[in-house]
């Protein structure tokens, strides 16, 4: 083929591509606008208010005074001893952060371990009964969070169902002290958040083409290998969506840790709540929550970048 003709054709193609690309971008922006407008009013806008608050002085009885101050940000990271005024790293905040990350991570893992097989089970039901099973997952959540948490409390307390049962069959001699422990928080948060894991995994499993699995078996792959090499990679978006939906809200969880954990140790959500309530330090509460946001954002950006790179790698 003639060299010039090829070049011209390429040029025309790029022009066309450019037009299509612009159209797609316009379409994408139009499609996302309604969501973004609502989010701006009731999520991002408030966050801007909080950003502003974090640089103000706490009001005497809650609220803020319109005097600029960086004290709140200082307090997030450094602790000034109230008795001898020595400054040190804010270890109270660090240990609370660490406890929250640890418990949220464990909650996410537990939700996955229980939720993935459940989602898989639902997705492999006959098409017409899948919605039924899905509803079965969400029914318990028609009761509200508080009463659900109390229900869990009822189950795990000393005179509760689990202990009575274990005592009756003779597995244990004395009731297990589960209430008011980290285990209780873990169980409670798993109970509260598990649908957030099951539903996204289900959504990506549902369109899963089981002929791929069949092909795997034809090639003498073991079940475990099929699971690891075929199913899990293909439903990864669902797993990731589920993990985000479980992990991040657990980080800021507040009701469940307080009721099941006995409130002796704070989680991040409780610490922030304390500043807006009894602590009367709104700027610190704002700064603490922006710090939490930054941590989560950085983690998410890393994830999206690596996912994009992995995606790009797959395409080429």
């Amino acid at each position: 083929m003639d060299k010039d003709a090829t070049q011209a054709e390429e040029k025309q193609n790029t022009n066309l591509e450019e037009v299509v690309r612009q159209q797609t971008v316009r379409r994408n922006i139009l499609l996302t606008t309604p969501a973004l407008v609502v989010l701006f009013i009731a999520a991002s806008g408030p966050l801007l208010v909080m950003f502003l608050f974090s640089f103000l002085t706490p009001g005497d009885y809650g609220g803020v005074k319109w005097e600029a101050s960086t004290q709140a940000w200082f307090q997030v990271f450094f602790h000034t001893d109230i008795f001898d005024d020595t400054v040190s790293i804010a270890d109270a905040h660090l240990s609370i952060l660490w406890r929250s990350v640890k418990l949220s991570g464990l909650t996410t893992i537990l939700c996955f371990v229980l939720g993935f097989p459940t989602a898989y089970f639902i997705a492999t039901r006959p098409a017409e009964s899948r919605n039924f099973w899905l509803f079965l997952v969400t029914i318990p959540f028609w009761t509200n969070l508080l009463i659900r948490t109390f229900a869990v409390l009822e189950i795990i307390r000393n005179a509760g169902v689990i202990n009575s049962f274990l005592l009756a069959i003779g597995v244990i001699d004395a009731p297990l002290d589960m209430l008011y422990t980290d285990t209780a928080i873990l169980l409670g948060m798993t109970y509260v958040y598990i649908p957030l894991m099951i539903l996204p995994i289900y959504a990506s499993l549902e369109r899963f083409d089981f002929r791929l699995v069949e092909a795997g078996y034809d090639l003498y792959a073991s079940r475990l290998k099929v699971l690891k090499r075929i199913i899990v990679p293909l439903i990864k978006p669902g797993v990731i969506a589920g993990s985000i939906l479980v992990f991040i809200p657990s980080l800021g969880a507040y009701v469940t840790p307080r009721i099941l954990g006995g409130g002796k140790n704070l989680m991040l959500g409780n610490l922030i709540e304390l500043q807006f309530g009894q602590g009367r330090n709104w700027p610190l509460g704002a700064a603490l929550s922006l710090t939490l946001l930054a941590i989560v954002m950085i983690a998410l950006i890393f994830y999206v970048r690596s996912a994009q790179r992995a995606g790009a790698g797959k395409d080429s």
Binding site: Y61, D91, R157, Y180, K264, L274, R280
Partner: protein
């Protein structure tokens, strides 16, 4: 009262208005949850042909934040005594001249001129109570009128103690226990308070609410808590007693205030006057199980409340009780720091 109820109609009208005004007037009361006697409200509605809408809050801080922000639509609220001066100072309430209302004559002498509302001009009395120690005497049979049960617990109670997640109640009680005064900024004393709390915390089981059930189910054996809960827990677990710590304990009172941006001022004033009538005050107490401040209301009270030591403080313990003042912001900061360190 039997009424026909159609969800659809109710739902639609709720959507359209927010509150349905069949009656001549309206009144929007903002109060603690499960604290307002429905009978009292019904009686008021009938008498004045006013539709009363009740909205709940769960803490003084939430109530203050909402009312301060404005645009809430409430006519009156029921803050605790320690918050009344804040509401007045922040200009959130109108001086209703409660002291000049017709039924003010029924208010008991000791409530006519409280420190938090001198001359009782702003607030009408709602209910009051105390923060002492609830003890399951089947677990611990010694003297219960001491806060050492919480801060230096005897062997029998270790690991069975609860402390409510109420920063000020806990720290004030500890300050009094160590010989200080409420709202003290004395750092030497506060250091002792912190050390005492940090030392005591491992001996506690929880820092939680919901003590009526916990005592009934014998999950905890001692708790710093409110007297009304002790009264109710005793109905379920007859071993429960309420102690008034001799080292000093807190009293609290909730009071009805008229909000500055109220739309139904006349109805609100009528309500304030209404609840100071002995019969009505008794209705209030019979529902929420706390004492009121109205002379002559005893006659209308349920029998079990007339003599209960949880409701009527025995003479010998009266002196140790006090209303905690509103702490200065600097002091509040110290307390928050101690509280955070305690729960890290």
């Amino acid at each position: 009262m039997k009424k026909s109820f159609t969800p659809v109609v109710a739902g639609l009208s709720l959507l359209l208005a927010g509150s349905v005004a069949n009656a001549a007037g309206e009144l929007n009361l903002y109060n603690w949850g499960n604290y307002t006697s429905p009978e009292l409200i019904e009686k008021f509605e009938k008498k004045f042909d006013v539709k009363v809408t009740i909205t709940d809050y769960d803490s003084n801080e939430t109530a203050l934040a909402k009312v301060r922000a404005g645009g809430h639509g409430f006519d009156m609220a029921v803050p605790s005594h320690s918050h009344v001066p804040i509401w007045v100072q922040e200009g959130l309430v109108t001086n209703a001249r409660v002291d000049q209302m017709e039924n003010f004559k029924h208010v008991d002498d000791q409530w006519r001129d409280p420190v938090w509302d001198p001359g009782r001009q702003y607030s009408a009395p709602w209910q009051w109570g105390s923060v002492g120690v609830i003890v399951d005497t089947s677990v611990y049979s010694g003297d219960i009128n001491t806060s050492s049960l919480v801060f230096d617990p005897p062997e029998e109670l270790i690991g069975k103690i609860n402390v409510p997640p109420e920063m000020l109640d806990v720290i004030h009680t500890a300050v009094l226990y160590l010989g200080g005064e409420a709202c003290t900024g004395d750092k030497d004393l506060l250091r002792k308070v912190r050390d005492k709390l940090v030392e005591a915390k491992p001996k506690w089981k929880s820092m939680d609410y919901g003590m009526i059930e916990k005592f009934a189910g014998r999950d905890v054996a001692a708790s710093l808590y409110w007297n009304g809960a002790a009264f109710r827990a005793k109905e379920k677990n007859t071993d429960v007693r309420f102690g008034y710590p001799v080292e000093g304990y807190g009293l609290w009172a909730d009071a009805v205030v008229l909000l500055k941006d109220a739309k139904n001022v006349e109805n609100a004033r009528a309500f304030m006057n209404f609840i100071m009538e002995p019969e009505n005050a008794a209705l209030m107490s019979a529902f929420a199980r706390y004492a009121n401040s109205i002379k002559g209301s005893e006659a209308f009270m349920p029998d079990d409340m007339k003599t209960a030591p949880e409701v009527i403080i025995p003479e010998e313990f009266r002196a140790a009780g006090q209303f905690y003042p509103t702490c200065a912001p600097e002091v509040q900061k110290l307390y928050t720091a101690i509280w955070t360190e305690l729960q890290k």
